[in-house]
């Protein structure tokens, strides 16, 4: 009886804890990277897979990075035969699901780069969720070319 009760209490406590856990604890970021850019290019983008472990939907509401003057959430849509890039207010991550930030789709735009993007020098990007909790990522810089240039 006592054991059952204490187990129940523990379960209740655990569930209430999870309900109060910050969104940043519930969302995992996988395979993140920032795209290497041609010389003089002032903009780049961060791509990643977001996994939501939680039973509720979550979203990214903004992002910042010391590597760029402005950081915006963007998406691409194919409309009237044109690839249109537009700012979005947030990026949703469905409960128990994944959201893919990838070329040609959703991405975190780094506008006005303040530092040169170099391979092997990771870029810090902080993403903020709807409850204002944050996650700071250290993202590697990757070339768009799958193979390395032979000089």
């Amino acid at each position: 009886m006592t054991l059952t009760r204490s187990l129940l209490m523990t379960a209740l406590l655990a569930s209430s804890l999870s309900a109060f856990a910050a969104v940043t604890e519930q969302v995992q970021v996988l395979d993140g990277y920032v795209r290497e850019v041609p010389p003089t290019q002032q903009i780049s983008a961060a791509f990643m897979t977001l996994h939501n472990d939680d039973m509720s939907d979550h979203k990214i509401i903004s992002a910042t990075s010391p590597a760029a003057k402005t950081v915006e959430l963007h998406t691409h849509t194919l409309d009237e035969g044109m690839m249109k890039m537009r700012q979005v207010p947030d990026i949703a991550i469905p409960a128990g699901g994944d959201t893919f930030l990838k070329p040609g789709g959703l991405h975190i735009m780094l506008i006005g780069l303040t530092q040169e993007l170099k391979k092997d020098v990771p870029i810090s990007v902080t993403i903020k969720f709807e409850d204002d909790s944050e996650k700071t990522l250290s993202l590697p810089v990757k070339s768009v070319m799958p193979m390395q240039m032979k000089h």
């Binding site: 402005t70 963007h74 409309d79 044109m82 690839m83 249109k84 070329p103 506008i111 193979m147």
Partner: protein, 201 residues
């Protein structure tokens, strides 16, 4: 009788306008091979490259992969040019010598030759960047069926981005537009399309 002619003419004009504005050949996201009579005609053009005037006919005998993009393009152009770069490096040296990749800027206001010459070689040293007056570029884009328009870019420091169609136009050794390859065509797919045009020796 006369009335019928007018009606016929009206129908034709309406049809023309509808096709003009909807551009049905521009298949959304699918692998659009030119089939319909509204297909772009392509054809010769002259613009400015690294060493002055560059014409398509200068590359007669070569397969030309033509792309319309711009150097501050954050995602779409680098993806496509990256894939074209992979394709170029997948080709044998002999095949590579029969291929020319070029990008015409759709943002001539900001893209001068210096920017084009800094941007394109990042992807491959052989890639050519072409500029011209907005009117020249608009005229060529129209013939190839490329569309583009300026778009405000958030409150960002860049002012604007350019919405643009992201096809790569495959022009054969005779200067004829033969195929348009959609955005995100992979390096391997470009190689297959190029090899289909190279005459077996």
């Amino acid at each position: 009788m006369k009335k019928a002619y007018y009606l016929f003419a009206l129908v034709l004009i309406t049809f023309g306008l509808v096709t003009l504005f909807t551009q049905p050949w521009q298949e959304k996201s699918s692998h659009a091979v030119l089939v319909s009579n509204t297909a772009p005609t392509g054809g010769d053009f002259t613009l400015t490259g690294t060493r002055g005037k560059v014409s398509l006919h200068d590359y007669a005998g070569k397969i030309v992969l033509l792309y319309f993009g711009y150097t501050t393009c954050p995602d779409i152009c680098p993806t496509n040019l990256g894939n074209l770069s992979s394709a170029t490096r997948l080709l044998s040296e002999d095949e590579r010598n029969q291929v020319q990749v070029m990008m015409i800027t759709v943002d001539p206001e900001r893209d001068d030759q210096l920017k084009m010459d800094t941007y394109l070689p990042y992807f491959h040293p052989s890639f050519q960047g072409l500029t011209g007056t907005p009117e020249q570029i608009a005229e060529i884009a129209k013939r190839y069926g490329a569309v583009y328009q300026k778009a405000a870019l958030g409150e960002g420091a860049l002012g604007y981005s350019v919405d643009h169609s992201a096809f790569t136009y495959l022009i054969n050794a005779q200067g004829k537009l033969v195929e348009q390859l959609p955005h995100a065509t992979t390096g391997e797919e470009f190689v297959a399309a190029i090899r289909a045009q190279l005459t077996p020796k």
